[in-house]
Symmetry: C2
Subunit: 302 residues, 2 copies
């Protein structure tokens, strides 16, 4: 077992912005610290929920350096580094590995659609070759509802065969439990580390052999997910998972990223948390009211 | 009539790469010169066909500077500058305007899907405000088959109302002639400059009030498209359009970007033209053979 690799509950950490929509480094770092202190085992910085693709390469490398300088343990970070452009993915991946991050989460190049497994394989192979660092560990990022570029089972097979010990896991945000189960059944026995991209199937995934989950929901209630993770073999498991699903489904009634930011703004008494880069917009006041009414039956973590 | 704005036949110019997959600046500039000398009125550098989204911001700004330094008239360039990230789009747009390019072609941010018109509006508004240059002219880039983020008629209405004289046109690569016709009918009378993103409806588009077209096909036979453009009111128009469609449909039987590169490699006796960044792969030898057999009935320009 590779104990240097993250497992358990990971949040794709929200990114705070100033009123001018620059990264609010300090506020974001405070959030990272809060997450690590309240139930997260590790953090995906620059995931989908982090608005990573709304950030430039320079913003991403600079923020990561500042977070590590502020005392965030790089061993607990799995930065998202997959971009449309090969040089961007190489630069971000090299930078993350250089800072001591144990793994990176890589989107496939997502502009062109209906690309071939062979083309995607060459993309990852190119990044691996050009990063050229034996410490590199890649988690594939399968999120077809957003990227529209799936990572097929055939591609996983090819990458894990060709780059054994480098391509070590996947975040499966297909939202399709049958697909996640297939990935676990087929690849987990050989040590492939599977993280569903949602808390809705956390218990089933752990029972099947997943290593944890990477869930946007962890930004607001990591302790609950951590309880599921700690107790998945215990008598309380089903009840904890049910409560998780109830809260997760409440959140999903709203645009998730703006809703998460509205919840942080409310719970931290800090309206600046609602700042969000376009193409997103903050919740409308009607949405915000409805969200908080819904939440009255849900205890979010403060 | 604004005579500084491009019209006629524009090619989204192919980008050449070295064997190591760096931009081959010299070979690409030679191609730009060839296009301008053989029927193109202007060029989109960094369009979809240029593999723009496989390039970094630094590669794009550096190439553009080198092209202009090599004598390519910046007044004939409409660079693609729309990225997922706001700072990238601002940087590229500012740079292009600074170099004297009369217009830029802007994709909407294309990672997140099902975003709102309001979010997309804020995106473009932010770019316009931060570029802050009265010379800025934006052409919207509607290419839902690839970006999966359409630019709705409502959004065009809002942008052209709010930013009259700045948001001046569109490349419509919907591939849906009825949609293109709607855009022309609704917005062209007020001076909005519509360019279909394909040669297949060039004649119909010109008759309806389009300003020309921006077509990948122009990389290999710009003279034929120029003939349609010159003669669209003449007796030969239908025959020229038919020949254009015959050649265009032949090309579309293959993956278009690799096929265009294979044709340039063949016609210029320069195999290096087939280099392509993943997620694309060069044509297989079977595809290449079939393509050249198909082309025996098609006269491409040398």
């Amino acid at each position: 077992m590779d104990t240097t690799q993250p497992s358990g509950i990971l949040a794709p950490a929200l990114t705070a912005f100033t009123d001018r929509l620059d990264i609010d480094t300090e506020r974001t770092i405070v959030h990272l610290q809060w997450l690590l202190g309240h139930g997260c085992d590790a953090l995906v910085v620059f995931g989908t929920t982090s608005e990573a693709n709304s950030l430039s390469v320079a913003e991403r490398t600079s923020f990561l350096e500042q977070a590590v300088a502020a005392g965030i343990d790089s061993k607990k970070l799995m930065p998202g580094t997959g971009c449309c452009s090969l040089p961007d993915s190489i630069a971000l991946t090299k930078h993350a590995v250089g800072l001591g991050c144990p793994g990176v989460l890589m989107l496939p190049p997502f502009y062109y659609k209906a690309t071939s497994d062979e083309g995607l394989f060459r993309y990852f192979a190119n990044v691996i070759e050009r990063v050229g660092d034996e410490r590199l560990r890649i988690y594939l990022y399968h999120i077809p509802p957003i990227s529209q570029v799936p990572i097929s089972l055939t591609l996983i097979e090819k990458l894990t065969t060709e780059f054994r010990g480098i391509v070590v896991g996947i975040k499966d945000s297909s939202g399709d439990w049958e697909h996640t189960r297939q990935v676990i059944d087929r690849f987990a026995p050989a040590g492939f580390r599977v993280f569903p991209g949602s808390e809705l199937h956390l218990l089933s995934a752990l029972r099947a052999g997943a290593k944890g989950c990477i869930s946007a929901f962890a930004n607001i209630n990591p302790a609950l997910l951590q309880k599921v993770f700690q107790n998945w073999q215990g008598p309380e498991a089903e009840a904890l998972q049910q409560e998780t699903e109830r809260q997760g489904r409440t959140l999903r009634k709203y645009p998730v990223i703006p809703a998460l930011k509205a919840i942080l703004a409310e719970s931290r008494k800090d309206p600046g948390w609602e700042n969000i880069r376009p193409p997103f917009v903050p919740l409308s006041s009607a949405q915000r009211e409805a969200l908080f009414a819904d939440l009255s039956s849900v205890v979010f973590q403060r």
